[in-house]
Amino acid sequence: MSRQIAERRDARSAAQLPGAHASIGNSSPVLIVDGLTRTYAGAARPAVQDVGFALGRGECLGLVGESGCGKSTLARCLLKIEEADAGSIVLGGQDIAPLRGRKLRPHRRKIQIVFQNPAAALNPKLRIRDSLLDPYLRLGREAKLSRFAFASREAYVRQLLEAVELPAEIAGRYPHELSGGQRQRVTIARAIGIEPDVVVLDEPTASLDVISQGAVLDLLTELRASLGLSYLFISHDLAAVHRMSQRIMVMRSGQIVDRFGADELFADERHPYTRELISIF
């Protein structure tokens, strides 16, 4: 009986308009997603279905769910790597969902992504220096960078490596000469180098060992504070999400089934699926 009530209430809250939730960070949301749906050709049900949320400035919003629940598809839609079938992605006051090509380019700077596997996210044939310069050379020129002001290529790359606590001599190396943790730091440096508003972290620690995981999470927390970044932290690791985020959303079969503040994780009114996740973890 009480479970039924809880389910009904969660269904209602998931359907509520984004932004209506309490405790959205300290100012107006930097990213508002509404009704986002993405169906792959030939699939029986959408990979992402009617997802909506708001991300406050300086906030870290966690997104948990099992493999294949649509987390990564959501990330790819937000980054416009894939196009959503329906819904809006309001980034800094502008809906980028319908934008393409040249019109989209000025908005690309505001959102960046860190992928799960840094070995695949770095071109093995490019030196670290060149990978780090890619975003700036295409998107960063128009931006007024405050922390990573561009004086010269060398100086810019050195600043970025410093920010992620990597030695400067790495700039001339190739990705395969680096450890997994170092590589992930490089992809983080690349993502923050043009000082975006939002960084989507798609399981950034899933391919790292436990010690590197902790170090990378600490680094991410520190960068969020010092650069005023907002994170959408995607993970299947409830512990990591709980540690990083102020608010948490639970995704299942393409839908957000539960959302709550990080301190309410163990509260009784949690969705049964959330409780299942907690019990596993």
Binding site: R76, R108, L126
Partner: protein, 290 residues
């Protein structure tokens, strides 16, 4: 007992035989280059014969200081023609190869990167070209456009570009799925820039290996088609054509056929060796090993 079993099954380290093989290849290649270089210096520095000047009084001469390899049936110096003929054969082979690369690489890049309808269309066209065997295309083109080295090169390009397009496409197809291409796209890189900056470096090794292995085949093709009269036309010195010219004198002066024959064989072998060395160098599996 167990250790004994393991010991007998232990595989001999591969690197030892590998270095020995490549060292032998290097020595052979160096000797060949030295031979060609010294012959060139001798022919052009000391002798200075005109490769097309006929002198019927001096026809079919044996080896002498003036004509180290003798003269052919029209009294032309064989060594000079052999050296210049190498330039012809190799030059046209490289020309054909270069043209095949210039057509094949962008074709494969675009097909592999764009996928979908463009890919299907491109690859059907490529399959169409693949259906024709190279010798047949060369003979048909010679029949249609007339015999000549230009048409022969055209025929080779028509046949060979497809394999480069397919090779490049398959590499690009797998590489462009990787996250770094997605990141490049989110960073506002244009398709052309992604192809040139991010994808082109991945195909260079494979293409170089295939090209050097193809070089030997193309040299053979040009020589053999020149031999049957579809390639270089007289009096152009070309190895295949020289073989044909010497055929009537096979009984009295067999070395006139042996010289260009040896030249073709050794050049093809050298090209294949180069291909082997490059393949070892760019072998993905070896690269992955620590």
């Amino acid at each position: 007992m167990k250790t004994m079993f393991l010991r007998t099954r232990r595989i001999r380290p591969e690197s030892k035989s590998g270095t020995r093989k490549s060292r032998l290849q290097a020595i052979v290649a160096a000797l060949f280059v030295l031979l060609v270089a010294s012959a060139s210096v001798y022919a052009f520095g000391v002798l200075k014969h005109d490769p097309t000047l006929t002198d019927l009084r001096a026809r079919l001469l044996g080896a002498s200081a003036l004509h180290p390899f003798g003269t052919d049936h029209l009294g032309r110096d064989v060594l000079t023609r052999l050296l210049l003929g190498g330039g012809q054969t190799l030059g046209y082979s490289l020309l054909a190869l270069g043209a095949a690369l210039i057509i094949g690489i962008p074709f494969g890049l675009i097909a592999g990167y764009k996928r979908g309808r463009i890919d299907r269309l491109f690859m059907r066209v490529a399959d169409g070209f693949l259906a024709f065997p190279d010798t047949i295309v060369a003979i048909v083109l010679s029949g249609l456009l007339g015999a000549g080295i230009g048409n022969l090169v055209l025929a080779i390009v028509i046949v060979k570009w497809v394999s480069y397009a397919r090779l490049v496409r398959s590499t690009v197809l797998s590489e462009s799925q990787k996250d770094y291409v997605a990141v490049a796209r989110t960073n506002g890189l244009s398709d052309a820039r992604i192809m040139s900056r991010h994808l082109l470096p991945h195909i260079a090794g494979n293409v170089l290996v295939l090209a050097s292995l193809d070089l030997g085949k193309i040299i053979l093709l040009i020589s053999s088609l020149s031999y049957i009269g579809l390639g270089a036309q007289p009096p152009t010195p070309e190895w295949g054509a020289m073989l044909n010219d010497s055929r009537p004198y096979f009984q009295s002066r067999p070395e006139l056929m042996v010289y260009p024959g040896l030249a073709i064989v050794s050049t093809v072998l050298l090209a294949n060796m180069l291909g082997d060395v490059l393949r070892d160098r760019f072998d993905v599996k070896k690269e992955a090993q620590p």
